[in-house]
Symmetry: C2
Subunit: 337 residues, 2 copies
């Protein structure tokens, strides 16, 4: 029996469980709206390392270890690490896999990686290929800035459409063991490009992809926004979220009060982050702290987690290409069975 | 019933089929040992484009289209593109997915991507999540050289341990339809690092990963090298292949006459490529031309395809990190059922 419904969505009949999770946040993130939810808040963005890239790697390793520990497992119980990040050749993920000695499946979905890794991890568990899978992503403000934009030392002014790349990582342990929170379905996104070429306006570049994936999910599963307690996008930010609401209205869907965006939610107004937070770590740390803790408490029972990614590189922009976006979605449900 | 055997290997009980494949080769590759096997040989390494990166992308798109056509399907029949490449942020894969309008799962496994994409694609088909999946990777000599090493215009001398990054792409269509060639099992590799830090000696950096994955596969499946008609690694090159043979001997396995390496096989001696070919496109075009055609003809019945990747970035090397390697493996079988 096929587990595919409609054109883009797969339904997990064995309902893989989330048995553990952890989020590590940077200093700025640790002063934001979810400061009481993170497992670890850094006191030093270099985390005792000599470079931002080595710090990012250490954040990944510690977060993966914490999530495994929170799930009651040991590192050797994890059968594969499914992970990606924003650095060229996803070195944070790959070097973490080296340190942990785990079989490794490297992904690249830019800031959509948290949902992409959960969707792939859920397939591996649901299909009985693996029992326990660690799904991870993250980012570091300082390593991302110097790779994608300018060295911090230049002190460039940030335009009002810009977002602030999150320092932090989140890891989720997906398992065939029982737990209250399960992954019910996943919708893999298409690459959508509306012709945005402003690398400081990622929200606008990614909103059409979020709209595409959400519409596919609603059509495939015959549901509507009000069937969910929370629909949360990855890092569209304030402007991108408004664009998404508009795009969905044109498609006949009112996202209403159940919709929010991790990038928009993370910082409070005094933190001067313009459109809000972004980066693979953004949706990763919000999911693996606030959202999953709220689900555990029973405050949310059915959540659509839609992580959004901008699939550009500095070179694609330099060569005149526009910015393609993607959005992968996983449906999380809480049940006592 | 679990589909996992041993610690690292999964067995596909529904045996996903390979129903179509295609390989596009660059000019140098098209003069090499497999010139009679490629579907398309470029007459111009720019493929009519203005940049090498745009040429690489066009090679991907044409190869994916050709493989879909060879399988008797239409683009809309493909439910997901599973692809990755060597360029920063895997732009060749992501922009190809944009052009083709396909749901997309982006991977990064460096030159191990062909096996990684086949392993993931086989899980998606075997688990009944998808019916038809396109698995693709490739590389371009000129885009890789300027990203990883030096601009070609510098005319740097190549050291004798160096390999030649392949211009070309391969794509395989994995399906639940019947065909003679099936994916029987897959072994996901660990990240292995023996401390090599010479970016011009990738074979030595990747050989320990190939050894690790092969030993895991033999132990997990209770098989030995002589049970296979061909054991082929991705792009260890001549020196790396010799190191692998030595490492396997220490583990008690004689790879004997069934072993070869795509990088070692590709060019003939007059083509001056030192240790041979490399790049994600290397194992991709050898698999999707020579190996699969030989399997169709019945000359090979049981093949271990082990693609090897070096998980470095220019920045990881600049920051003093050694080069981690990975090897993913898929077992291909021919059967008339």
């Amino acid at each position: 029996m096929s587990k595919k419904v409609g054109s883009h969505t797969i339904v997990f009949t064995n309902k893989p469980s989330i048995i553990g999770y952890s989020a590590t946040a940077g200093i700025k993130e640790g002063c934001g709206n979810f400061k009481d939810y993170y497992d670890v808040i850094l006191e030093d963005d270099l985390f005792g390392e000599k470079t931002f890239e080595h710090a990012e790697r250490k954040i990944f390793i510690e977060t993966i270890k914490n999530s495994i520990s929170n799930s009651g497992l040991k590192i050797k119980d994890i059968e594969i690490l499914v992970s990606g990040d924003l650095l060229n050749q996803i070195i944070s993920s790959s070097f973490s896999a080296r340190e942990l000695g785990l079989p490794y499946l490297g992904l690249y979905g830019a800031c959509s990686t948290m949902a992409e890794s959960l969707a792939v991890g859920a397939c591996l568990v649901d299909g009985k290929y693996m029992k326990n899978v660690a799904c991870c992503t993250g980012s570091h403000f300082s390593s991302a800035e110097r790779q994608y934009r300018f060295p911090l030392e230049l002190g460039n002014q940030r335009p009002p459409t810009s977002q602030w790349t999150v320092t932090g990582a989140g890891c989720t342990i997906v398992s065939n063991k029982k737990s209250k929170i399960k992954i019910a379905s996943a919708t893999f996104g298409e690459v959508v490009d509306y012709g945005i070429n402003d690398v400081n306006n990622m929200g606008a570049a990614m909103a059409p992809a979020a709209s595409s994936t959400l519409v596919h999910h609603f059509v495939d599963t015959n549901t509507k926004p009000e069937d969910y307690d929370l629909i949360v996008t990855g890092d569209l930010g304030k402007l991108g979220s408004e664009i998404l609401i508009d795009l969905m209205e044109r498609e006949g869907y009112d996202l209403g009060n159940v919709y929010n965006d991790c990038g928009q939610m993370m910082f409070h107004d005094k933190q001067k982050s313009y459109q809000g937070a972004s980066g693979a770590g953004c949706s990763a740390i919000v999911l693996n702290s606030y959202i999953l803790k709220k689900m555990e408490k029973g405050e949310y029972s059915r959540v659509l987690f839609c992580a959004t990614g901008a699939l550009l590189s500095t070179l694609s922009s330099q060569q005149g290409d526009t910015i393609p976006g993607i959005c992968h979605l996983v449906e999380l449900i809480r049940s006592e069975e």
